[in-house]
């Protein structure tokens, strides 16, 4: 972990462009050192100054839901960054870990949508509006949504409609409706298309009965129909709408209704195995206590920057890890426990633990233009410590990733590791092996696992839990630790 070097001014020669920030011609994000900067065109700068003069800028920055931003005097941006030239440079607060809507559980997407609408409604009161409605413009500081795209604010032009309405439907409303109305996770759709779900696609996903649900007929069925009817008439329709006297009050009315609609959407995870797993898995009280202690000892043995908790479930160990880490990423393949953990953390006002839905056997890839617009998981920041507790049997047996492959992947993160190995006698392992043919997964044995682990890491600690079916290890990257001899039985 390195102490963050706060740069007050960017060094254009050492700047790195944010590959996902090219769509808006008036603004572009770049990095220099540990600083996040934004170059603005002449128009972009004018819009920012207008935003700076609003009450909402102060109010939302103060409560942390608008990214902290300063206008730098006399700072330079790399040449050629914006087609129109750079007129000003902003410095932004750095968000600890970037995440994407296809990784958020339902309530995170809903909170991002509500923030987007609240900012819009506040902006409209002061003659401004957000020119787009992308959830990629919202990030999370722990369980707190933060709007990061300052370049989205612009002064409202008389007679113009809400330009971001369609995008709001495609990337917020439809995904939320799918989960709330159909119980269908929108993650595959959002990951499958960077622009979201089109009105026509959404109509195809709705049944006849669904059209009677609140908001569905208007925003889905009618929207799809009108879109088909008026395709290629954009300019004419815009002029017609303006001529008919489209005004701000209409946008306000639409946004208020949309806010009500979104606020009313609910989804709760089914009470399945995973959701209650943390409470009723196979641990005895002594085992659970010992495991807590083990994780706490490692977590607080030094200050860790970023900790990844893989298979975080109800977040018990993410919380322990947070005692000694600046930030924790709590990831689980199942949306249910992630949703519940997020709700609890939100209630507590947590700013340290970021909850994400992530299937390690199929993690978020690079997406968008050149595969760089949205980054793959490891590209977004390497962890300093990784927790892989009660996980390896799911990866190796359920997802069929060979134990060796999994250990090599963990080692590729170049971070310290706390890993738990449940033996073949463990009830959970038996349950996973049960339906499979006998003799499968011969590599799922403690001895061979320890061999692989010792080959990729310096194993510093090993502890067998009381019940004898689970073993905990603390390991550091090769060359960084003081390895113990694993052939000697543990005390």
């Amino acid at each position: 972990m390195s102490a963050p070097r706060i740069e007050t001014s960017p060094r254009p020669e050492a700047a790195q462009l944010e590959p996902g920030s090219f769509r808006d011609p008036e603004s572009r994000v770049f990095y220099s050192g540990d600083g996040v900067f934004r170059a603005l065109s002449e128009e972009g700068l004018t819009e920012f100054k207008a935003l700076q003069a609003t009450r909402l800028f102060e109010r939302f920055t103060a409560d942390g839901s608008l990214v902290a931003t300063d206008l730098l005097e006399g700072a330079d941006a790399p040449a050629g960054l914006l087609a129109k030239g750079t007129a000003g440079v902003l410095r932004h607060e750095r968000i600890p870990f970037v995440s994407y809507p296809y990784e958020w559980p339902f309530s995170m997407l809903k909170d991002a949508a509500l923030l987007q609408l609240d900012l819009n409604l506040a902006a409209l009161e002061e003659g401004m509006i957000l020119k787009d409605s992308s959830p990629y413009n919202v990030q999370f500081r722990g369980a707190t949504p933060v709007f990061v795209d300052i370049g989205s604010f612009e002064r409202l032009r008389e007679g113009e409609p809400w330009a971001g309405y369609r995008q709001f439907c495609m990337l917020y409303l439809y995904p939320l409706l799918l989960q709330a109305v159909k119980g269908l996770s929108p993650h595959a759709f959002l990951r499958g298309s960077i622009d979201g779900i089109t009105p026509t696609q959404m109509r195809g996903l709705m049944s006849f009965r669904d059209r009677f649900r609140k908001g569905v007929y208007l925003h889905v069925f009618l929207h799809a129909k009108l879109e088909a009817r008026h395709a290629d008439r954009g300019e004419e329709v815009k002029a017609e709408v303006r001529k008919a006297g489209f005004k701000k009050e209409l946008i306000v009315a639409n946004m208020r209704r949309m806010r009500k609609l979104v606020a009313g959407l609910e989804w709760s995870p089914p009470g399945g195995v995973w959701v209650t797993y943390g409470e009723r898995n196979s641990y005895t009280d002594e085992d659970a206590e010992r495991k807590d202690e083990f994780v706490r000892e490692v977590s607080t043995s030094r200050r860790w920057g970023l900790t990844w908790d893989l298979g975080a479930n109800n977040g018990r160990y993410s919380r322990i890890a947070a005692e000694g880490s600046d930030h924790v990423l709590a990831m689980d393949a199942d949306q249910g426990p992630v949703e519940l953990l997020y709700r609890n953390l939100r209630e507590e006002g947590d700013e340290k633990i970021l909850t994400l839905t992530m299937n390690l056997a199929d993690p978020s890839p690079g997406l968008g233009w050149r595969g760089l617009e949205r980054r793959s998981l490891p590209d977004r920041g390497a962890p300093d410590l990784v927790l892989a507790l009660a996980l390896i049997h799911h990866v190796a047996i359920a997802a069929q990733v060979p134990v060796k492959e999994f250990v090599i992947w963990l080692a590729s993160l170049r971070s310290s590791l706390v890993i738990e190995f449940p033996t073949r006698e463990d009830p959970m392992v038996k349950k996973l092996l049960g339906p499979k043919r006998a003799g499968l997964h011969p590599d799922y044995e403690r001895e061979s696992f320890e061999r692989e682990l010792a080959q990729a890491f310096d194993v510093e600690r090993r502890e067998r839990l009381e019940s004898d079916t689970r073993v905990l290890y603390f390991a550091r990257p090769k060359g960084a630790g003081r390895p113990i001899d694993l052939t000697i039985p543990e005390a």
Partner: protein, 59 residues
């Protein structure tokens, strides 16, 4: 203020949905929108007037 086009295409169908969805605030706008269409259909107003409007949206 320069009247530039939003970088995002608002979508023609989506603009009309907004007029319909605006509730009471939208009634007058919707009435005018469709009244203008009827006038154009009856050739009482010329299409040119719509074309004129395009000049405020230079590409």
């Amino acid at each position: 203020m320069p009247d530039i086009l939003a970088y995002l295409d608002p979508g023609s169908g989506s603009m009309i949905v907004q007029v319909i969805a605006g509730g009471a605030a939208a009634l007058a706008v919707m009435a005018r929108l469709y009244w203008n269409r009827i006038l154009r259909f009856l050739r009482i107003k010329k299409d040119d007037e719509v074309v004129d409007q395009k000049r405020v949206d230079p590409k």
